[in-house]
């Protein structure tokens, strides 16, 4: 079975669970569970949760979607998820500047832990007070208009819109793979 693992990350309320639910063929599993041994040493009562969705489109091919935990200060589950991801998407609610700082922190964390291709998905772009793409990119730490990850608007409640966002991520993944073949990185 060939499996591709995509991680959907972002601040609480960005639409991660809805995004996965919109496209998953199984009921999204909210994997509330006890922390593992090492984590429990740090926080004995910590439970962590992540969303899991699946899309099987051929007898031997499936897409797995993982949503990062909602807890603002929890990171070990992110680490496990991102290290296993083929690619990931940062979802950001375009009308909630309060979360930009945190989104930036997530991004920084992810980029330190993984070189997997990334795109940014903007949700809630129809809400009042929505920031435009250019300004959100600056707020996320991409001031150079020529150097930033692909960015796409997505309605997390619409399967079609989510499909388009995933296709954008796949396309970017494919381009990065192609580039890596042409110019292999010296080391990972």
């Amino acid at each position: 079975m060939e499996i591709m693992r995509l991680v959907v990350t972002g601040p609480v309320g960005a639409g991660k669970s809805t995004f996965i639910r919109s496209v998953s063929e199984i009921d999204v599993v909210d994997t509330d569970r006890r922390a593992t041994d090492e984590a429990s040493l740090l926080k004995p009562k910590t439970t962590v949760a992540f969303d899991f969705g699946r899309l099987q489109f051929s007898p031997d091919m499936a897409l797995h979607l993982y949503g990062t935990p909602g807890q603002a200060r929890f990171d070990f589950m992110w680490d496990i998820l991102i290290r296993r991801a083929h690619a990931y998407m940062l979802l950001v609610a375009a009308h909630r500047p309060r979360e930009f700082h945190y989104a930036r922190r997530i991004l920084s964390f992810m980029q330190r832990r993984s070189r997997a291709p990334l795109i940014i998905g903007l949700t809630h772009t129809d809400q009042p007070g929505t920031w435009d793409e250019e300004n959100i990119l600056i707020a996320l730490g991409f001031p150079n208009p020529d150097r930033h990850p692909p960015i796409v608007s997505v309605d997390a409640t619409e399967a079609g819109s989510v499909a388009v966002a995933i296709m954008t991520l796949l396309q970017h993944y494919s381009q990065v793979q192609q580039r890596n073949v042409e110019q292999p990185a010296p080391h990972r």
Partner: protein
């Protein structure tokens, strides 16, 4: 482009970071009022040019600098107004007065410090307020000394003076995270003693909690310092990884999440991608 928001949502420090990194030009207005609608409370104006602060005022008649000159006894109100009229439309008043021998460089610096640093730094303590940034606003030469300061410098000074951090509480770094430098070598901004001490720990090895213990500082002090050094682009907070993914042992049912090295570098085949795209196209 115009952006409006509540300072609780997007703090002044973040606004300044955004304007500097985006090299924005325009007028930032701060309204000291809980709601954006009138009646309006006190208003403050800060002008930016390419991400640098060039002027500030708490009046909208463009007579703030003239008034400041008069208050300091540098020039009479009437004389300053007359000179302002003879100043070219694109020449900052301060520079014009210097070219006329009315002000010297030190006086100009002092004027700028009073107008911008002192006035703007005080705004970091505004808790209940709104901001509006208008990139189409014209820079007011009558309010400009001709000097400018990077927004980061103003932010650093403003946050140093800040006493009430309650609105920034949820943006402060996690005490269990660590810090890494974002600049090579020495910081390009002038740090105070305690900031330097924290800066020394940007090796990514110690948690903020540990740093606080080493420096014998309350943890919230270290969090505040890290926040301000972060928004001025000197360092960043990185979650401390107490659990290395390679040594993680997950439960059997979470097989898919096992971080094994063989899968770590795995790639997906082109046929997989083609099939998946075809499948997704049917959902659009």
């Amino acid at each position: 482009m115009a952006i409006t928001g509540h300072l609780v949502e997007f703090s002044l420090a973040e606004i300044f970071q955004f304007l500097e990194q985006g090299h924005k030009t325009g007028l930032l207005t701060i309204f000291e009022q809980p709601e954006p609608e009138p009646p309006r409370g006190r208003e403050h104006y800060i002008w930016f040019n390419q991400g640098r602060v060039v002027a500030a005022a708490n009046r909208s008649d463009h007579r703030g600098l003239i008034s400041s000159l008069s208050q300091r006894g540098l020039l009479g109100d009437r004389a300053a107004s007359r000179l302002a009229q003879s100043c070219g439309p694109k020449v900052p008043l301060g520079l014009y007065l210097k070219s006329q021998g009315i002000l010297d460089a030190e006086q100009l610096k002092l004027l700028f410090y009073t107008q911008v640093m002192r006035q703007v730094c005080a705004l970091f303590s505004v808790v209940d307020g709104w901001f509006h940034f208008d990139s189409k606003a014209v820079l007011p030469c009558d309010e400009m000394t001709g000097l400018s300061a990077p927004a980061t410098e103003v932010t650093l000074a403003g946050l140093r003076a800040l006493r009430n951090w309650s609105t920034l509480e949820d943006k402060l770094p996690d005490p269990m995270s660590t810090i890494v430098a974002l600049v090579e070598g020495q910081p390009n901004l002038r740090l105070n003693a305690v900031e330097w001490q924290v800066w020394e720990f940007t090796g990514g090895k110690d948690s903020l909690q540990t740093i606080a213990q080493h420096l014998q500082l309350p943890i919230h002090k270290v969090q505040e310092i890290v926040f301000r050094l972060n928004v001025v682009g000197l360092l960043e907070e990185v979650p401390m990884m107490v659990l290395e993914a390679e040594t993680t042992h997950q439960h059997d049912e979470e097989d898919e999440l096992q971080p094994t090295s063989s899968l770590h570098d795995s790639t997906v085949s082109q046929s997989f991608l083609n099939n998946l795209v075809s499948f997704l196209k049917h959902k659009v």
